[in-house]
Structure formats: structure tokens, C-alpha cells
Symmetry: C3
Subunit: 321 residues, 3 copies
């Protein structure tokens, strides 16, 4: 199905500079878009691509409207990236294929689980006893929602995710480990996205909480009793140990690791790859990454790092001379 | 179902200071427990919570018995954390819901696999030819146990775990990679816990070994031909490369990475986030983490780190003046 | 089934020094091989094991032929590791058990998906609408291939892998996140291996590309719009953020993290555990790892590291004296 520029602005707004009847075959990135494709430019860093792109039409902000308009059709909007997001949604709606069954017959849904009449459950999902799946929520293929766990409204859970596995709790005793049964569950708010093969463990006593609007990428581990505050976004491969209390509106970069029993304030941004070993109570941007280097340089610097404290003492001694 | 304090100490021991007939509705954390809830205090760091908790009864060690008893009922035991673990088990037993089928009808169990008559296999598990599942072991939903792999007695395997995927082995040849078929399997001892979406690869020739009492959290990778010694506990997101030989009674913190073809002695503790690139033959606590900082400070320090060896040379030169 | 040394060299070549009719019961590592087992020695670091191994026959390179022959049978070849790889393949072929069904009846294959007549689909896989699985490709148990994703010929995908989950894309708006629908797919070339529980996300607009001969270990995250060049091998637990462009013939060690929107040239080798935050345009070996140490030493050095820039200023001041 083809959309015209006219139908797009009729639906999403924006000031079209160009022909209402022009047809758009596809959305495409600026560097590869052709004359029948629609693209967008939000990051001024890529502004130079305006000179070379073959895109039939470009969504731009007011600052680039002149430049973009000089080369062809454009749609001028306040926030091109947001407009682009809505455009992908429009595109998906307009090109929707026939739905499969609302609850795929291969899914295993316990008779004492509750699935809202508008929720969609993909093939080979497992919804255990007492679990609740809210309205308009979609579980893709092969998702587990364990006993008594709750998923809110309008959530999307990708394939392989495990919600409500047992938290990792053992008491040491005579050189072995005695299991602490995990009696809590997981409560997930509304508008939460959960990535492929991501795991959210059930609480030991109280529940693990993921608040409204949280976005979790793939292969994330959320330990038992954590709380993740509203609208926090966490990139792939992040590990969050048990009982961490993460604020709202935080961002956590990929492969960061958050220790347990600590607090991140609201609006804390953790760089990818950083290790958070203590509470961070002040909003801001925090980082802890070993800088990469050619291997030979790294070897020399890393070896020296193991003597760093001694070096400091030597500097002190020099200063006292 | 409600338990009384009397029935709890009758089952688990401990010195009750309070009313045998008091009913406990739930187990709860100290900070949120109410008058009909039972809590525990094992870490002296949280001792101040005694002053404010509303818990109906608290499990404490002898040192805090007086203080706890002064505010209400308590159970005095030598090791409150261990007691708490057993209490969660008692709680789970007392509140057990009716079991589903022992082998869920949606599980795919190969006719030449062996599942002990007391083992439980959850929905949508795959047990391949020649695999063996021991007594009282439980596989939750969507677990894979591949050909010829063995899981011992009283193990619990969480949803999505993959036991016996092919190890990652390829010989380089003419710029491409030639597959090394993985002819070994995985042998898992008794009383082992394996977390959600954790992967344990089959050996190339010999088997990958996980010994009795090992506890593995979620999203852990165990490469082919590894050995993990008895009662070692490994937190989430850890990667262990092939042929690593990990001792007994070790602990490995979350997101640590262990290189292959190396040895960790018994009773080695690796901090979360640390990278182990060499054998560690002496018991002890080892760490290697870049300390997190506000981003601006990190940038300055990280840039300087790339000149660290040079700085050392400059210190040497100063010392020679 | 038993193979003779004669049948092995007849099939794979190599110069046999020993008895053609000797039977080989198993392939085994040098340190545990017995008189009826065949082993190999490729890494000269393990040469000392020649003196103690009880292996019935050893595959060696020309340089060790004399030493190996002096102790018993050996097969002399140019590249013992490559020969060993082919030997494991011969072994597997010779010991193949009866196949199950080509498409396991428990797999959920959409009627509009295409599965080549020679491909094998394991139990409880999900192949969604429009997906294509090429000739001689094997999906083990519980693999997801989402809508419109393409897997080439002779690929092997391990259990739990998710190909074509939605990329992680959201536009910020009024303190919340607006979903960017992921309209691209995943295209995987020929001879690609994909590990257990590894995730490869579909592109936002264009496709995510994994080229021919790429080898991916377990629990890897490949973000949307990435390209991974031919014959690149990536070890377990690696995270690759969106739109990263990884060259051909690269190796990326376990648990490395690659940021998005950057480029790695061909033939770049990244050490395990390293964090790549910028493009690397020159072939070579790159590393960035905090060296592990006993915890007390680490604490002192890490604390000093947070003052490193200041130390450099103090050295400068000393030099000016």
C-alpha cells in the first residue's frame, strides 16, 4: 500500500513543502533513500547528507527547512525524530497484515491466569497460574510469565523474555547453599517494553516492580526486589542486581552493571559499559570505562595502573623534596 | 493458610519470645512488615530498623534478642538468615497449590530420554535423545536439555535455560572457519540451580561439568569443557569462556568475565564486573573495576590513563634529578 | 561404531605412521586420552604432554612428527587443528543416529513462511510469516525467526536464539518514549552460526545484516541496523549497539561491548571484555580492560585513579620546578 505525502500530513500534521499527491513507497535512511522514499533528518551531525541524498521527501526541523526545500520536497516539523516515530506507526498501521489468532493455540495459558480480551499472546508462550496480562498488551513468541506476575496495559514483550523466574537467593550453611524460596512476584506497569531474552526475577518477599513507561532492551537481567522507576530506558546486556532501586527518567547504557541494594536518583544517566557500585543520589551523567587502545599501549598502561597508588606516593615524595 | 508462631518454631526450632498462638499472615521485609507479618534481621547494618518496624514478630540472632524482644515478639536463633531461608521453604510447602502434570503435555521429551519418575518437566521444555533428568529435579517452562546431557537430583532449572548447546569451536582455514563438531555433553551434579536463559555448552570432546551444589543465576554463559567446582555460586550475566576450570566454594559477582583455559583455585571470590584474564591460584578476594565518576571527571582521568606509562617514566626522570 | 586409522587417513588424508588397522574408539583430549583413543596436538605450548599422554594415536604437525612418532602412532598433517575439526565432522557423520522429522511437529511454521526442503527445524521453533530458511540450515530447539527475516544456507542456529525481535527505538517526548516501529528485517547469509539465546534485532528501516561465514557465540546482542562482515567471529556475551558497522574477518572477544553508529575496519581484533566507544579504522589488536588484582590493591589503585588527572598536573608542576 502506498501513502501520499498529502495523506501523511493529513494524519500526522507538519508543513508540507511539495506535492500532496506524491506517492511514498517506503521509509528509508537518508543515505540509501531513493526518489520514491521518505526519509528524515533530526541529528544536525548528518546535515551534510542533504547534499547527496536522493530521498523523494525529507522530514526536517525548521532550521533545515530552507536547505531541504531547496533540493526537493520536505515536511517541516518541530521535532523530526518524534515525527519519524509516529510515521513508522502510521506506516505499520497502513500496511498491517491479517492478524493471527489473539491467543495462539500453541500458547500454554493456565486456566487460572487472566488474559485481557484485547491482549495478544504469541505462539509457544507460557502464562502460569495467577498471572495477569493487561489490555492491548502483546507477548511475541515464546515468552514466559510466571505464577502471579502482572503485566499492565499496552506493553510489548519480545520473544524469549522470562518474567518471574525465581530470584537468586541462598543462605550459606556448612559450605553449601540453602534455597530461599521466592515468595514475591513481578509487577509491570503500563506501556512497558521488554526485550528479547530479557529476565525479570520475582521478589523474595515483596514484588519486583517495573513502573509505567519503562523500556528494557534485550538480554537484560533484573534481579529480585528491584524497582525501576517510570520512563527509565535501559539498553541491552545490562545487569541489575537484587534490590536495586532505580529512579524515574534514568537512562542506562548497554552492558552497564548496577550492583544491588543501592539507589539511583531520578534522571541519572549511566554511560554504556559502566559499573555502578554505589548509590548515585544526584541527577547527572556518570561514566566508568577503561578506554580502549592498541593492545601494546594498553599493556603498558594497564601494567602501570597496578602500581598507581605507589606512583602517587612517589609524586608525594618528590613534592616534599 | 495461616501459620502460628507456635507451629513455626515447632517445625524449625528457635526460641520464641512471644505468643505461640499469634497468627502470621505473610513473611515481609522489615521496612514494610505489618503487625500480622513475620520478618527477620540478619545484617547488623539494618539494626536501626528495629526502632521503626511494625512487624508482628522478628527473627533475630542472640545479639539483638534483647532489643527485638523489647519491642514485641521475636524468634531468637543462631543464624537468622539461614532460618529465614528455611522459613520461606516452610511457607512454600504450607501454601502449595495443586500441582499440574508431572511432565507437562506440551513438553517434547524424546522417547530415548530418561526422566526420573519424581522429576517435574514444565510446559514447552525440550528433552532430547539420551538426556537424563534426575530425581526431584524441576525444569520450569521452556528449558532445553540437549542430547546426552545429564541433570542430577534436586536441581531447579529456570525458564529459557539451554543445557547442551554446541560449544563455540571453529578452526580457521583460508580466511573462513571450519566447524569443530562438539562431541561431548554436559554433566550437571545434584542440588544445582540454573537461572533463566542461562546457557551451558556441551564439550568438544570431553563433557562440560557442573558439580554438586553449584548455583548459577540468570543469563550466564558457560563455555564448552568448563568445570565448575562444588558449591560455587555465580551471579547473573557472568561469562565463562571455554575450558575454564573454576574451583569449589568460589563466588563470582555479576557480569564478571572469566577467560578460558585458566584455573581458579577453590575459595576464590571475584568481585562483580571484574575481568579474569589469568589463573588465580590463591584463595582470596579479587577485583578489577573502573571506578565510576561524574562523566567530566571520568573523561579527564580516562584520557590521562592512556598516558599512564609515560607519566611513570616522567616520575622516574624526576626522581633521577 | 569404530573407525580405523586407515579409514581416517583414507577419508581425510595425512601421513599415518602406525598400523592402518588400529581401531579408534573415541576422540579425546591429550591429557585424558587412552590407548584406544585418538588425540591431537596443535598448540606447541602443550608439547610437554607428548611425554605423558597415553593416547593411541596423535595428530601432529611436521615439527613434532619425530617426537610423536617415537612414542607411538601418529598422523602427520600440515594443520593439526584444521585436521581435528574435520575429524570431528567425520566422527559425527560416522556416528549419526537416526534423524527425527525434518520439521518437528511441535514447531510453529507460518503457512506464508518458506522453509527449504533440506532445512531442519527443531522442536518448538517459531517461524513467522514471510521468513525464509535456506538449504541445509538447521534450527535447533526453541528458535524464533520473526516476520520476513531470512536465514541463508548451511547455517546452524542454537536453542533459544531470537532472530528479528524489534530493535530498541523510541523517540523522547514529554518525558516519555514514543515507539519507533521497526519496519526492517534481518538478513543472515550462508554458513553462519548463531549461539544459544543470542538475539539479532530487526532493522528500523533497512535490514540488519549478518554476512556469510559469520560465527556468533551464545548470549550475544546485535542491535538493529548493524552489519557484521564476512567471516567475523564473535564470542559469548558480546553486546553490539544499533547501527554498528563491523568489518570482515574481525574477532571480538567475549563480553566486549561495541557502541552503536561506529565502524570497525576489516581484520580488527578486540580483546575480550573491552569497550569500543569509537570507530577503529586500522586493522590491529585493541584492548581496554581494567587489570584484576587482589581486592586491597585494587581499592588503593582505583581510588588513586579517580585523581589521575590531578596527579598528571602535579607531575607537570614538579617538572617545572
Amino acid at each position: 500500500m502506498v501513502l501520499t505525502l498529502g495523506s501523511i500530513v493529513a494524519e500526522l500534521g507538519g508543513e508540507l513543502r511539495g506535492d500532496l499527491s506524491s506517492a511514498v513507497q517506503r521509509l528509508a535512511p537518508l543515505e540509501s533513500a531513493g526518489p520514491d522514499e521518505l526519509s528524515f533528518l533530526s541529528n544536525p551531525k548528518f546535515r551534510h547528507q542533504l547534499a547527496t541524498t536522493r530521498a523523494g521527501c525529507i522530514v526536517v526541523g525548521p532550521a533545515l527547512a530552507g536547505e531541504a526545500g531547496a533540493r526537493g520536497a520536505c515536511i517541516v516539523v518541530d521535532d523530526p525524530y518524534l515525527y519519524f516515530a509516529r510515521l513508522t506507526q502510521l506506516w505499520k498501521r497502513s500496511h498491517a497484515r491479517e492478524d493471527g489468532p489473539r491467543i495462539h493455540p500453541s500458547a500454554v495459558v493456565h486456566p487460572e491466569a487472566f488474559v485481557d480480551a484485547t491482549a495478544r499472546i504469541g505462539p509457544l508462550c507460557v502464562i502460569e497460574r495467577g498471572a495477569r496480562i493487561g489490555p492491548d498488551t502483546e507477548l511475541k513468541a515464546r515468552v514466559t510469565v510466571s505464577e502471579d506476575c502482572v503485566v499492565g496495559a499496552r506493553c510489548v514483550v519480545q520473544s524469549g523474555a522470562v518474567i518471574g523466574g525465581d530470584g537468586f537467593g541462598f543462605a550459606p550453611h556448612d559450605g553449601a547453599w540453602v534455597r530461599i524460596e521466592q515468595l514475591g512476584a513481578v509487577r509491570i506497569g503500563d506501556d512497558v517494553d521488554i526485550g528479547a531474552n530479557t529476565c525479570i526475577d520475582r521478589g523474595a518477599l515483596a514484588d519486583t516492580i517495573v513502573e509505567d513507561g519503562v523500556k528494557l532492551d534485550n538480554l537484560i537481567q533484573v534481579g529480585h526486589n528491584c524497582r525501576i522507576g517510570r520512563h527509565t530506558a535501559i539498553a541491552g546486556c545490562v545487569g541489575i542486581a537484587g534490590s536495586a532501586n532505580i529512579g524515574a527518567h534514568c537512562t542506562i547504557g548497554g552492558a552497564a552493571m548496577i550492583l544491588g541494594h543501592l539507589t539511583l536518583a531520578d534522571r541519572v544517566n549511566i554511560s554504556a559499559g559502566s559499573f555502578v557500585a554505589r548509590s548515585i543520589l544526584k541527577p547527572g551523567h556518570y561514566t566508568g570505562i577503561f578506554p580502549i587502545d592498541d593492545n601494546a599501549s594498553w599493556e603498558k598502561n594497564a601494567a602501570t595502573l597496578r602500581q598507581l597508588y605507589t606512583l602517587r606516593e612517589r609524586i608525594k615524595a618528590l613534592e616534599k623534596r
